[in-house]
Each structure stands twice: as C-alpha cells, then as structure tokens.
C-alpha cells in the first residue's frame, strides 16, 4: 500500500507519559534523528522534580516537546501540533495546550478504570470518540494499543510482561519516525550500544522500534505521512547539543585554550549536576572534579585551586549561589580568577527544581555584602553555552575576578543543532602569571607587591605558590593598594572599593559593539532581552514584522558590565520592552543605569515565554509608539528570518 506524503514546513510534537515511561529518551531519540536528518529544531524537556511521582497521576507526567522545521526556528513552539499520550494522565495534563485540530495519538492500553480515576476522569474520553458529545471532538484522535502491540512484537524474546511492555516507548518512536520520515539507523545503533550487555532487552527494544515503524506503514489508521525538508544552514559540521553539555565542553575548551588545569568544586543540585557529571569524564584534559561536602566547600576548593594556579570553577543553581555568596566575596577581595556557574531554576528557596526561571540576576549582581562587583555573562541558547563558558573564563583569567555565568533550566536541558567550532578559532586565554623578580645590582630581590595593577585591565598579578621571590599573603581583609598588606585606612578603602569596581567596568572596553537587529531601521520599539529568552523574543519579533510592523531586537550576553553602547542604543527608541522570566530584574537595572522607561513583560511559570503572547505584548507597544492599530492575525505561525527580509 502506498501512502500519501504531505510536505510540512514545521511541526511541534510532544511526547507525554508517566515518569517511568521513558518519554525523555523517546523525545531525545526523535530529536537526534531529526537533527541528523538536517532539520532545524529546538527542544523542551519538562519533567517532575520527583524521580518517580506516583504512577499514573497528573503530577507524575513527564513530557518532551520538539519543534522541527525546514527553516530556522527559535523556540520549542507554543502549542504542539501532535501529542503522543501514553496514559490518561498524560492526555489530561497536556490537552489544554493543544490547538484545535491537533493530532493526538493515545495508547489505549492504559485507559483502565483505575488509571482513568487516578487521572481524574469520570468517564473514558475515548469511549465517546465520534459521538456528538465527544470531549476530544476538536482533535484528530488516533487510539492505538501501543502497549498491546509492543508485547506482541517482542514475544519471541521471552521477557516478562512488564519488561516487554516497557519497550512501548520505542514502538511509539518507531511510529512517529515513520510518520515524519525520520532516519532509523541512528536509533537502532543507539539501542544496540545502550543495551549491549542485556541481549534480550536490546533485541526487544529494536524489535518494538521497527514494529512501530511497520505499523505506521501498514495500518489504515494513518493515511498520511509527512516530510519536512532539511533546513538551510550555514556550511559546517553539526551536532545536536544541550546547554549543560555545551557548557561543560566550553569549560574543557577554556582549560585547553588557557593551558590551565580546570578544577571544579561542586555539590550536586538540579539542574546543574550534569555539568559535574560531564566534567568528571574529562580527566584526560587535566580536569579535576571534587564533589564537595556542600556548596561552600565546592567554591572554597575552587578558590584554593585558583590560588594554586588552576582555572577554578564551581557549578550550582540559585540555592547554591546563596551559600557561596561569602566565598564569592573572598574571590572579589583576593582578586582570583573563578568561574561561578548558576543554572537558574524556579525560586525562592527550593522553588521549582526542574523548571526554568531567570530570577537570579539581581542575586548575581548584588547578592553579597559590601561593594562586591562581579561580572555576569549569560548564554542565549543551548549551543551558545559553549561560547559563554569560554567568555566567562576569559574575563575571569584576564581580569582576575570571579565571573558569574547565568544559564537556566531551559538552556540546560533543551537542545538545538550546534555548529561545531574549529578549535583553532576559539579564543586564546593568556594567564600571564607573575614572573619571578630579577635580583637588583646589589643582589637583593625586590619585594613582590601583589596589589599592583595592569594599567589597561587594572588586573593584579596572579602569583601561584612555588616561585621564589613572590611569596605573599592575601585574604578577605581590606588590602593596602600595591603592597596588599592589611589596611584599615579610610582613604585606602575608598580607593580600593572604587578600583575593584573600575576593574569590572573596564571589561566593557573588551566587548564588541552590540548587534542591533532592526532590519527596516524604522522601528520605534526595541525589545531588550538576556539569556534564554533570546529564542521566544526572536520568534515574537518575527511575528510582529511578518504582520508588517517595525520592531528592533537587542540581546545582552554581558549583564555586568553592560556593553558601552547600550545606553545610546536604548535612547534611540521611543519604547523599550524587556521580557524576562522574573518580575523585572533587567528592567530595574536598565532603568537605574540609563533612566529609560523600560516596560517589563514578565512571567514566572517555570516555562519559556511563548512567542505568540510576546508578539501581542510587542504589538501593543508598537501601537502606542506609532499611534496605529496593530493586528497580528497575519502572523499566526513562527516565520523564519528568511521570510521577513
């Protein structure tokens, strides 16, 4: 039977099931297949904080959304076109996000009275399909006994029924792979490697995957398959990468490009732990990882290693930053290089451990006693975490300062195609260690002064132990200028406080001009963002432009110091919109610094901002600024950048 193949330019698919159903793996495999196929894509994993929340319940639902397209896309998509629901709870929890006409593929097997009641259904919604009162009447529903067919397909391997049923996620993956014409070889190879040690499980998963594909091809329930052509991308070699992996690679690269051994002191915390896990694998690069007794010890060890001449790094999330604050102040005072990674999550306190937020900006900026300026760098997409980590290390080493690298849960676990850079093209970081002093004519060596400064960067000398003539003592007490001896002198403290601030401000001299994306040059509204909102803002801006309006976009990598041209740029626009996943932290900073009337667009839902809602907010501001009516109905989908040029 030959089936119809329809062309699509983009699709958003969400896999949802119980935490134990392997939805993250399923989504990840589908993503890898799509990446290798050449689509552009953005992903959004969404899972509960509990490892195994009660089975079959709404809080136990885990999902993975992927947006793939034949053009460049910036977000995981606002609303899924296709939902794969492995049980009643997954259907119920996700239904509200679906637009009319969306496709739903449900595993009917788990729609038992018990599971329906756990999910809060009085009646089986699948019983009424096609009836006048069909609660799913707005959608194209495909009820399929995924589990039953999986068990049947893997019968020959003699697994227990439970183990056999566990391969149902691979059956679902096979079916979706057929529907969207995904290459299957990478997944077969992956399964063979992953389950290499357990032959029957390996064979069952491969068999279920293939059975899912074959089912799609033969069944009458799916009449159409889809094709999404590869997206045009800049030449190069690509891989799909998550933010945490890219960040870890960036730190390894920083070690290689500086010639410094990387020393990570860290205490496990979601969503940062994967960086610790990843760096632990790279001892061959001279990377040492210490799982410390707490966050304070983690940063303490990193500071000790930095004093010893290593690139000290500590990784954590917001609660860990709170614990590290005093030690960050010590690194400010001792002027030692240190990279502090904060993978932000919902707060305050334990907050939303597995969800994303950007509410640690002011903590990074001000969360210490005294005047303790710390440079802040933020990546804008998963792949960009690599470059941001290198940039943080460059600033830390060049300016002898702790640097805050602000990632977030969405960047950490989300993924995108990443063009693999050439190692030779990466920035070189020069540690410029202090040199042993030469003896004077009379044979005496001059005393080493650890608080002299480089006239350009204001950095002090970095003099790790082991060099004769550079013996010195540093610490958290105020230092006398030049000598570094303890000083309680009022004028000296004033001078040193200003000097530490001036040193951080000097970093702006090393930053490139901001990129202002204002294609028509006629925009009166600029949208200013930072961090992971880059994608949603970009997508929102495109919608507004597609509907025929003008809007500019500026995105900040450096939050402290701000790039030197930021003030001028903001003053060129009538309105400044600052979308953030917090209640207005960047807004506060730009208002204070530039006296601009920044308007916030703020949400703290633990999820990335939605492009459509953002477009509305931008539209409202454009309407105010230009005195026109703004109608965005012309732009309901996420257009590519090519379309609007």
């Amino acid at each position: 039977m030959s089936k119809q193949v329809k062309q699509l330019d983009r699709v958003i698919i969400r896999f949802a099931g119980d935490s134990g159903d392997g939805m993250q793996l399923t989504g990840d495999r589908f993503t890898q297949q799509s990446a290798v196929f050449g689509n552009d894509l953005v992903t959004l994993p969404n899972f509960p904080a509990e490892i195994r929340a009660p089975q079959g319940t709404l809080p136990g639902v885990s999902s993975f959304q992927v947006h793939l397209a034949d053009h460049d896309v910036l977000t995981p998509g606002d609303a899924p076109d296709v939902l794969v629901a492995m049980n009643p709870a997954a259907l119920k929890a996700n239904l509200g996000d679906l637009p009319r006409g969306a496709t739903i593929i449900v595993d009917t097997h788990d729609f038992t009275a018990r599971n329906l009641s756990k999910a809060g259904y009085d009646a089986n919604p699948l019983d009424a399909l096609g009836d006048a009162n069909d609660p799913l009447g707005e959608y194209a529903v495909h009820p399929v006994d995924l589990t039953g067919m999986t068990v049947e397909a893997v019968k020959q391997f003699g697994l227990s029924r439970k183990d056999a049923a566990r391969a149902k996620n691979m059956f679902a993956l096979g079916l979706l792979s057929w529907m969207y014409g995904r290459p299957t070889d990478p997944t077969v190879a992956f399964l063979e490697k992953r389950f290499a040690k357990v032959a029957d499980i390996r064979d069952a998963n491969v068999a279920a995957f293939k059975a899912g594909w074959n089912f799609g091809e033969t069944t009458e329930s799916f009449a159409v398959s889809y094709e999404i052509k590869p997206a045009p991308m800049a030449p190069g070699t690509y891989r799909n990468i998550t933010g945490n992996l890219a960040l870890a690679y960036g730190l390894v690269a920083a070690g290689v490009r500086s010639g410094l051994p990387v020393f990570l002191g860290s205490y496990p915390i979601t969503p940062a732990s994967d960086i610790l896990h990843e760096l632990s694998k790279h001892k061959a690069f001279g990377v040492t990882t210490l799982q410390a007794e707490d966050e304070i010890a983690g940063i303490g060890a990193a500071i000790g290693a930095s004093f010893g001449g290593a690139l000290g790094v500590t990784t954590t999330s917001g609660p860990g930053i709170a614990l590290k604050s005093e030690a960050i102040g010590l690194a400010v005072m001792t002027e030692l290089p240190l990279v502090v990674v904060d993978v932000q999550r919902g707060g305050p306190s334990t907050g939303l451990p597995t969800k994303t937020e950007q509410a640690d900006l002011l903590q990074a900026m001000f969360g210490r006693n005294g005047e303790a300026p710390v440079p802040i760098v933020a990546p804008q997409s998963p792949g960009d975490c690599f470059d941001a980590a290198l940039e943080a290390a460059r600033i830390a080493v060049t300016y002898r300062t702790p640097v805050m690298l602000l990632s977030d849960g969405y960047l950490a676990n989300g993924s995108e195609p990443w063009r693999i850079p050439e190692v030779d093209d990466l920035a070189v970081i020069d540690p410029k260690f202090a040199q042993a002093p030469a003896a004077d004519d009379d044979g005496t060596t001059p005393t080493f002064h650890p608080y002299t400064r480089d006239p350009e960067t204001l950095a002090r000398p970095w003099a790790p132990p082991g060099v004769a003539g550079l013996e010195h003592r540093i610490g958290g007490l105020e230092k006398a200028d030049i000598t570094g001896n303890i000083s309680y002198d009022p004028a000296n403290h004033d001078f040193m406080t200003r000097t530490r601030q001036a040193k951080v401000d000097r970093i702006a001299d090393s930053l490139p001009p901001l990129e202002v994306d204002d294609p028509s040059g006629q925009a009166r509204v600029v949208v200013l963002g930072w961090g992971s909102t880059y994608g949603p803002i970009g997508a929102g801006v495109r919608r507004v432009r597609k509907a025929g309006y003008h809007v500019a976009q500026v995105h900040l990598r450096h939050l402290n110091p701000f790039p030197k041209d930021l003030g001028d740029i903001l003053s060129r626009y009538d309105k400044v919109l600052v979308p953030e996943m917090n209640l207005g932290q960047l807004s506060l900073l730009v208002r204070a610094k530039y006296l601009v009337d920044a308007v916030g667009y703020n949400q703290v839902r633990g999820l990335p901002l939605k492009a459509a809602e953002l477009a509305e907010a931008i539209g409202e501001l454009v309407a105010q600024a230009e005195g026109v009516e703004v109608d965005l109905t012309a732009a309901t989908t996420e257009p590519s950048s090519q379309e609007v040029k």
């Binding site: 070699t237 001892k283 061959a284 007794e293 010890a297 060890a301 050439e422 003592r473 958290g476």
Partner: protein, 368 residues
Amino acid sequence: MSTTSTSTELPFPGLRSGVELVPTTDEPQTGKDFTSDQEVRWCPGCGDYAVLKAVQGFLPDLGLRRENIVFVSGIGCSSRFPYYLDTYGMHSIHGRAPSIATGLATSREDLSVWVVTGDGDALSIGGNHLIHALRRNVNMTILLFNNRIYGLTKGQYSPTSEAGKITKSTPMGSVDHPFNPVSLALGAEGSFVARTIDSDRKHLTSVLSAAAAHRGTSFVEIYQNCPIFNDGAFDAIKDNDTKADAIIPLVHGEPITFGNGSKGLVRDTATGGVKIVEVGTGHGQVDPAALLVHDAHNPDPTTAFAISRLTDSGYLNQSPIGIFRQVERPAYDDLARAQVATAREAAAGDDAERLAALIGGGDTWTVV
C-alpha cells in the same frame, strides 16, 4: 631541585612522607627567613606568640623551599597567623580554610599545605569542612588553636567551652555541651590525631614534625591560652605543681603512665574503655608491667578514642597529650591526581586534537 624526604623518621617503611613531593633546598634556613615584615598584633601574653615562634623555629628543619609552603587560615585571632610567616598564605573566611586547602593541595602536589584555625572556626562554623577534610585524608596539616573561647569577637563561649561557662553571651552560664576535638577527629576517620600545648615548645615541635611527615590530614589540637578572655583555662596542665597529675603523656610504644609514675592506664574490661589506676604493688594497685602500652599505629581507633575520653570536658584538670593516632591511609589528593594522570596517559594526541574530537563527537551531520 630534589624531592627527597625530610629528617623526620616515618613509622611506616615505604610510606611516602607528607612532604615527599615538595622541593627541598640545601640553603641553610633560619626562623628569620620565615618571618614576614608585618607587625604581630596579638595581645601581650597571648599563646599564639609561642606557637608562631615554635613554627618559625621548626620550619627550617623541614628543609623545604620556602616558596612551596602555604598557610591557609580562617577567621579568628589565631587565623592571623599566615600574615606573620614569609611563605605563601591566605587568610580566608570563617570556617572555610580546610575546603580552600583541599583545593590547593589537590591541584598542587608540590606544596606543603598548612591550615591554621581556632576552636570556633574549625568546630562551629567550619565543623562540616573539618570532618570532611579528615574523612578524605587530604595531605595537609591542620593546627587547631583551642583557647576554648571566641577571642576575636571578644569572649563569647565556643564549642569547646565548658558547660556552665559565664561569658558575654551566657550571663547565666552556657548550657551547651562541648566537643572534645580529639574525639571528634578520631570519629571523623582522622589518620593523624594529636594534641599539644602552646607553652611546651619541645613537645609542640616534635608533634609538628611528625604531623608534617604524615601523608594525609594531620590534625593537631594546640591548647592555647587567651589571657584576655579565658585566662588560666590550662593552668592545671601548665602549673608545675599540678601538671604531672594533669597531663597523661602518650608516647608510642611506651606504657601510659603519669603522676610521676604513680598512675597509669589499663583496659577497663567492664566498659570496654580504659581507666586510670594507681601504679604499684600495694592493695588495689596495678603492676607497671600491666599498664596499657600506647599504640598510635593501631588500625582500630577504639583505644585511641577511649583514651581521648579521659579529657575533662569541664575545667581542664586532666588531659592526654601526644599523638593519639597515626595510621596509613591513602590520601585523597594523591588518589585524585592519580586518576587524572592515568586518564591523561591513556589518551592519545595533544589536548587540542582531543578537544576537537570531543566536541565533534556524537551524532553529527555536515552541511556543505
């Protein structure tokens, strides 16, 4: 630059010395070489002076290059120590010195790393780091200056102050039960645990020398008098009239006896611990030959712990002094560096090539 061992004899043949990888010098050194140009600012009569002098006098014996010695301290009167030594040093933040020293010692095998801390610094705010340093057995020496009071903050009771102590923050007497630092260190898997006294320079120096030679975390509690806020806390063990009865000296391989030979320790079969007995041949007295012989190298810490319990928790009328325990256990930093070295040796190609392979790994595709 040679890396031979120091003058101190090690108890375990074949065990690496604590300073084995630290470069040595043949240049003669004196205490003056280790004295910085900073004015010492402790109160007159403070016990910290005696310890500083002893350390300055002892460091030349190690024969190490001065630039390879680092002192890291926390916060407190005692933690000013690094400023007065002309080595590398860091005066860090309250309680965190062991963690900083852990990072330093792990990343630099060629350094002799010392931690200077107080009873509040190490046992109150920094208690967690102390026990974990001991557990890991990072190669460093921790000098805990125990004056049984918070000196720098002007005299509040500390985690080693006796219950009932009247201080500024406890006008009706403290109701806290104190720590016994030696018991704590033994319980935290300490591989070298000792106690000494600020005023006994000879003993102090011998303990420091053994501590430096020990590979792993050496923990040394130093009784230190604070004449301003806790004067006389150690009078019973310092006073010539009382000290023979107050100090229970521990010498490896020697029977444990004190009170000028009139008292000694034996095992207490009833409790499984140790007890003090009268020594002699009379009724109820114990023959000297039956006394407990101190074995600091016993792999089982039980007896060392039992001995540590003879320390008074109230006013100090009695305390065992010396090396309680000194056993061989792999040091964290040696193991951590060995893993890195093994991984590096096993890897082919230079770092840049391997970085290209790493970031270019996984499922890739090429766009032309």
